[in-house]
């Protein structure tokens, strides 16, 4: 797990991307506790997303994309559960079936020469132009990360862009009989 002679001799599994969804009490410092645990113990955060999901109970959902062996990710889950305001930790890869999506806002530099190509590509990817008073060309694209990646790659080949991404959010798509 770490790289010393104290390293675990057991067969380690391959490094994989994992999406963890963490329900927490929405109280001051809770995000710092979560990310502090990652940096303090040397784990990776590829992306992180947090927002309140239930107003009446003050609960937020944090979606963390990380990568590591299954041993490391299982340790991450257990360390997260030790944090007092954490309700639950679910590894969506272990759940088997989940839906993920992210949003990107893309500022596209459009000129007369590339205009047509840009609009065609945006149409193809169903990237929506956001109207605002400055008449700037900002597009919004939502969907799975790979789709956003492909769009960015292709648009980059046409023109210069600036981009902001939310990082994925995800939810289990296994049918539940009873709501928690």
């Amino acid at each position: 797990m770490n790289k010393s002679v104290y390293a675990s001799p057991d067969q380690v599994s391959e490094t994989k991307r994992h999406i963890l969804t963490v329900l927490v009490d929405n109280e001051p410092g809770v995000l710092a506790r979560v990310i502090g645990m990652f940096s303090g113990r040397g784990y990776n955060i590829d992306s992180l997303n947090v927002a309140e999901v239930s107003n009446d109970e003050n609960i937020s959902r944090i979606t963390i994309v990380t990568h590591g062996t299954s041993e490391v990710v299982s340790q991450i889950e257990k360390q997260l559960l030790r944090i007092v305001p954490v309700h639950s930790v679910t590894n969506l890869d272990q759940e088997g079936s989940s839906v993920e999506a992210e949003v990107a806002l893309v500022y596209i530099y459009i000129s007369d020469t590339n205009k047509k190509k840009v609009y065609q590509l945006c149409d193809l990817y169903r990237a929506r132009k956001i109207e605002n008073e400055n008449n700037t060309t900002i597009f919004e694209i939502a969907g799975a990360s790979e789709r956003v990646n492909r769009f960015i790659k292709e648009i980059n080949e046409i023109t210069k862009i600036e981009i902001v991404r939310s990082g994925p959010v995800a939810i289990s798509s296994i049918q539940k009989n009873e709501e928690e």
Binding site: M1, S4, V5, Y6, A7, S8, P9, D10, D25, P28, G29, A32, R33, G36, M37, G40, E71, S74, Q75, K78, Q79, L81, R82, V84, P85, V86, H87, S88
Partner: protein, 588 residues
């Protein structure tokens, strides 16, 4: 609205309702309202330390010797930063402590005010949980939750940061039993926890041919009943048992099943038995690197059972076969009842062969040392201390280094909660304030801090505290004028280049004691040793006993870093092979 009291009064009322008898602290600007309220009441005693670092170690010593929660009260800024080491220490060794810090008034937070620091930010990774309370009406519920969290599950330190305006503000007090703590904020194993796993574990033990129990500090944290149950179960099985540094006392040293401590400076027979066992039963220990040595050679042929209250300890460094999450006393009680119900009995022939093997290892006599003339060997000093105090109710604390290991090896503990040492963090300067805390909790007991000459200087200012409160703590310094453990590693791994490990200009410890109006004693030869120890015990005052020991003694046996349990070094003539020595050098 008529029942409103100030935040400071809520603090004291909460402490009183939680049954707190004593607070270790140091006043300052941001906690003056609390100190003012403290002044006006008589139920809670305050012990004034001489540096905040002393307060938190004293609270740890109090907590670990009494089983209660230690309480610390310090001011903002430097007051808070000075307790960081102790909080980390309590976190590593799972000690229940509640630390109250003052904070600058709410409207000044973030303005770099005088004595302001981001206390909750700084202490987040070294506490189990912490709070910044900005609303006086939440103060009592925060306190009651904080005490519960500190004690619940795997115990640990909890910090409450209170801005000065909140201490002055008026609000309502809520009683402990009116507070409902949501279950996700606590550790609550389900009542029928891990039933099948426990059955599997007991069956595995019953079928073992070469079992060993590996006992850790979790058994002590689970309370005295846990130690009784663990002893009972081990006796039923007839298995050998070894304890970690933190677990000493769970099973008495004189118990026929006890092999003593294991690990880096543990007993040869204990480490060999760990290496060769077929079933290992880890109860409340966490496979620390001081215990396991090289992981890829750790107990290669055993099935491992791991009982721990903290799930994150399972498969953290060592993969185990049967993990059981739960409180030691509940799990072991269940194990005993299963063992009885099923009328399990371990195969006596195999067990006899196993004990024969262990007894052969014992013949190596790994703690063997030779007295040379009239010079006092540090091991001999601890042995004499043990012999002369064994019939008294004695608490032993230590600092960190060679003296700590000699104390663990040569002082024999028969009871839990009598041995207080900084195991996880290895904090030099822990022992003396911890001894003060233990003495406060046990005014009539004998409390001895076995110290080194370097460690004791890290919190020597607490002499003033000990004398002020007439705490007859005994400081037993094994004085070799070196940071002995650093010197030992430099000798073994760095070609004998003793870089900065010799302490020049040490104080005259006898005069130092006298300057605090305590008693100073000194033993330079073996002839003087027993008299000095006896005099130390009989003195009803704080004592420093300065024991001059041989300067270059090494602490053996030793598993050098990067080596395995079966590669113990018994003396310095026995060199580690070069390759693992090179690898080991980079480790701590």
């Amino acid at each position: 609205m008529n029942n409103e009291i100030t935040g400071a009064e809520i603090v004291l009322k909460s402490l009183a309702e939680q049954g707190v008898e004593v607070v270790f602290g140091y006043p300052g600007g941001a906690v003056l309202p609390i100190y003012d309220t403290l002044f006006k009441q008589n139920s809670i005693k305050h012990v004034l330390v001489r540096q905040e670092g002393g307060a938190i170690h004293a609270a740890e010593g109090y907590a670990r010797s009494t089983g209660k929660t230690g309480v610390v009260l310090v001011t903002s800024g430097p007051g808070a930063t000075n307790v960081v080491t102790g909080l980390t220490d309590a976190m590593m060794d799972s000690v229940p402590v509640v630390c109250i810090t003052g904070q600058v008034p709410t409207h000044l937070i973030g303005s770099d005010a005088f004595q302001e620091c981001d206390t909750t930010g700084i202490t987040r990774p070294c506490t189990k949980h912490n709070y910044l309370v900005k609303d006086v009406n939440k103060l009592s519920s925060v306190f009651h939750e904080a005490f519960t969290i500190a004690q619940n599950g795997r115990p640990g330190p909890v910090l409450i940061d209170i801005p000065k305006d909140v201490q002055f503000a008026k609000g309502s007090y809520e009683e402990k039993n009116k507070i409902i703590i949501p279950s996700h904020r606590l550790f609550e194993p389900s009542p029928d926890f891990e039933k099948s796993k426990i059955h599997e574990a007991v069956e595995l033990i019953a079928k073992a041919k070469k079992p060993i129990f590996y006992i850790g500090g979790g058994c002590i944290n689970s309370g005295p009943k846990a130690s009784r149950l663990v002893r009972e179960f081990i006796n039923m099985v007839g298995s050998p048992v070894t304890m970690t540094l933190m677990g000493l006392g769970v099973v008495g040293s004189s118990d026929k099943n006890s092999l003593g401590m294991l690990g880096m400076h543990g007993m040869y027979e204990a480490n060999m038995a760990m290496h060769e066992c077929d079933v290992m039963i880890n109860i409340g220990a966490r496979f620390d690197d001081r215990v396991t040595g090289r992981l890829d050679a750790f107990s290669p042929n055993s099935k491992k059972i791991h009982i721990d209250i903290d799930e994150s300890n399972i498969n953290k460094t060592i993969n185990v076969d049967v993990p059981i999450i739960g409180d030691v006393k509940q799990v072991v009680e269940k194990m005993i009842s299963i063992w009885k119900d099923k009328k399990y009995k371990i195969d006596t022939d195999s067990l006899k062969l196993w004990w024969d093997k262990i007894n052969k290892w014992k013949e190596i006599d790994c703690l063997n040392y030779k007295n040379e003339g009239k010079q006092i060997k540090p091991q001999y000093a601890v042995q004499r201390l043990y012999e002369l105090t064994k019939n008294t109710k004695t608490f032993v604390t230590t600092e960190v280094g060679q003296h700590q290991m000699w104390a663990a090896q040569f002082y024999k503990f028969e009871e839990p909660n009598r041995w207080l040492t900084s195991g996880g963090l290895g904090t030099m300067g822990y022992g003396f304030p911890a001894a003060i805390g233990a003495q406060v909790g046990h005014p009539d007991a004998l409390v001895v801090d076995i110290a080194g000459d370097a460690s004791i200087l890290m919190n020597i200012q607490e002499m003033s505290t000990a004398v002020q409160y007439r705490l007859p703590v005994k400081i037993f310094i094994l004085n070799n004028e070196y940071m002995g453990m650093v010197r030992q590693w430099q000798e073994l791994l760095h070609g004998g280049r003793y870089s900065e490990s010799y302490t020049d200009s040490l104080p005259d410890f006898v005069k130092l004691a006298e300057s605090y109006k305590a008693v100073g004693l000194r033993a330079k030869t073996t002839d003087e040793l027993d008299d000095v120890i006896t005099q130390m015990i009989e003195t009803k005052n704080t004592v420093i006993a300065d024991i001059w020991v041989t300067k270059e003694e090494n602490c053996f046996p030793m598993i050098q870093s990067g080596s395995a349990h079966n590669e113990m070094m018994l003396s310095k003539d026995q060199k580690q092979d070069k390759k693992s020595a090179e690898k080991g050098k980079i480790l701590v």
